[in-house]
Symmetry: C2
Subunit: 305 residues, 2 copies
């Protein structure tokens, strides 16, 4: 069933030990949508400037992504430049030009409002709440946030989270949000804030899905070469949410859906791993669903005892 | 089948965010032996001073550990003092008094030499090789090492590793030994140095078992409270080797033994997790085999999809 994705569409400049790209398609919404498009029909909500290239529109269209909600306004597209450390576990932001993204007000086309699945990429929590409130019939809503919003809009974020079925953040953000260093205790605190499910991304170590009554640990895939980790966490989100949407899952009953939630977490790890195999979104030009399912099977082989 | 464990027996002083202990039983051999004793019969080789307390002898004996190879000499037992960071991911060594351990020459009692399983704790690689060469009938030999020996005795260590079936080290040591940052490539290089199996410990993230044809990823257990991580890696080794010994496994055919190797890796993670629940070796005063098997089942529940 179809999934609405809201978030940033950007151009990135990235340097890793494997090379350097001065301008390539990026942004959380882009990665989430491309990743999820292997599982279900995607519609995106975002904003770009008049410099947004037709070849980038074509890439998104080639994956069947509905671009009616991708607003184009005068000015430049959001631009980010960063450089990764030698082991690629750290990155430094060298430049952030918000450009047209600075005043982004998500506008939902009428055709989007009845769609059953919604993923809110990392934008200001008040904007996330506005979008969620317009999707009155959604059967499954989740999203991401970041340290900035946890710091400066904690109360607003708490209000926003009350309307979500799941929250998907990294381990550092989970500890910051819960004000608790132990991950298991932090998860328990966050699950009292509204979401029925918390998914904690751990970078190369994979991810953990928490519910009030059980948890599931997915490892990261051991790549021979990590070319560029940019977007891997967003591709995880796309695989996780895309799989759930493709299976028609809602999570009113997390016990009933346990197995589907576990598999969604593995598909998240699978999609995050593919993302790192080439620079930016390049891997999605050639990636096929059979490759995805073959890697899913690999995860079974190296975790099943 | 019975297992010989060689390594340090020590007294430790440890401070963690949960408390402080000025003197408690420690040492790699101690932790490995206590952990493995839940799976099979253990004989240890080590040295202590005349300050070694009878109550500590009693604890080892209570687990059925054969102490014939535990030499007692005039002087003080090896002493180590350390303090952990707030998140317990780092620790600082404040004091290391080798004492009687400085001139440790492992002496194998005659009754040990015919035993089928041998685990060589982290001691000087030349000493490890001497012991291994005396155990001519061993069906499975493995051990640990550390950054110091990789740095100052690399060639000697390489000779030693040729006689081992498996090497069990942490991820930083694996990268250093292979001179390769990517873990999968590092593992491939190390497997060309002699051992048929490499087990890489990743602290709170669990461990990975590598063979030339497959690998297996075991997560770490999510504890609510980590009181003291001292010895957790050694308890992992004890669980891994103890389980294999209990099953009579040799690894001439790693394909045939695949499932047993996977389960041994999980038992390693299980034993490492119990170790952290109390200070030092305290948890082993009350731990029971049914508790161990219940936690093994928990690992199944939170990894099986």
């Amino acid at each position: 069933m179809s999934l609405v994705v809201v978030g940033s569409v950007a151009y990135d400049a990235v340097e890793t030990p494997h090379g350097k790209v001065d301008r390539m398609l990026g942004g959380a919404c882009t990665y989430i949508a491309l990743s999820a498009s292997y599982f279900t029909k995607i519609s995106i909500v975002g904003v770009v400037g008049d410099d947004f290239a037709s070849e980038d529109v074509d890439l998104l269209s080639s994956r069947g992504i509905d671009l009616e909600g991708l607003e184009r306004v005068p000015g430049k597209t959001f631009f980010w430049r960063g450089v990764y450390s030698n082991d690629m576990n750290d990155r430094e932001t060298l430049q952030t030009d918000l450009n047209v993204f600075e005043h982004f007000q998500p506008k939902l086309p009428a055709s989007y409002k009845k769609q059953p699945y919604l993923f809110l990429g990392n934008i200001q929590p008040g904007l996330q709440k506005d979008v969620r409130d317009q999707m009155t019939g959604a059967r499954l809503v989740g999203g991401d946030t970041m340290n900035l919003w946890i710091e400066i809009t904690r109360d607003q974020l708490a209000e926003t989270l009350k309307g979500w079925d799941f929250l998907l953040i990294n381990d550092g953000e989970a500890r910051m949000l819960a004000k608790e260093n132990n991950l298991r205790k932090a998860a328990a605190k966050i699950l009292e804030m509204g979401p029925k499910i918390l998914v904690v991304k751990r970078g190369e170590y994979g991810a953990i899905l928490f519910t009030p009554t059980y948890h599931f640990i997915a490892p990261g895939y051991l790549l021979q070469d990590v070319f560029d980790p940019t977007g891997a966490g967003d591709c995880f989100a796309g695989g996780f949410m895309g799989y759930l949407a493709s299976r028609g899952v809602d999570i009113a009953d997390t016990a009933y859906n346990r197995r589907e939630l576990f598999r969604a977490t593995i598909y998240g790890s699978v999609m995050g791993s593919f993302c790192c195999e080439k620079f930016g979104v390049e891997r999605f030009r050639s990636l096929t669903r059979p490759e995805i399912d073959a890697r899913f099977q690999e995860f079974k082989d190296f975790t099943d005892f």
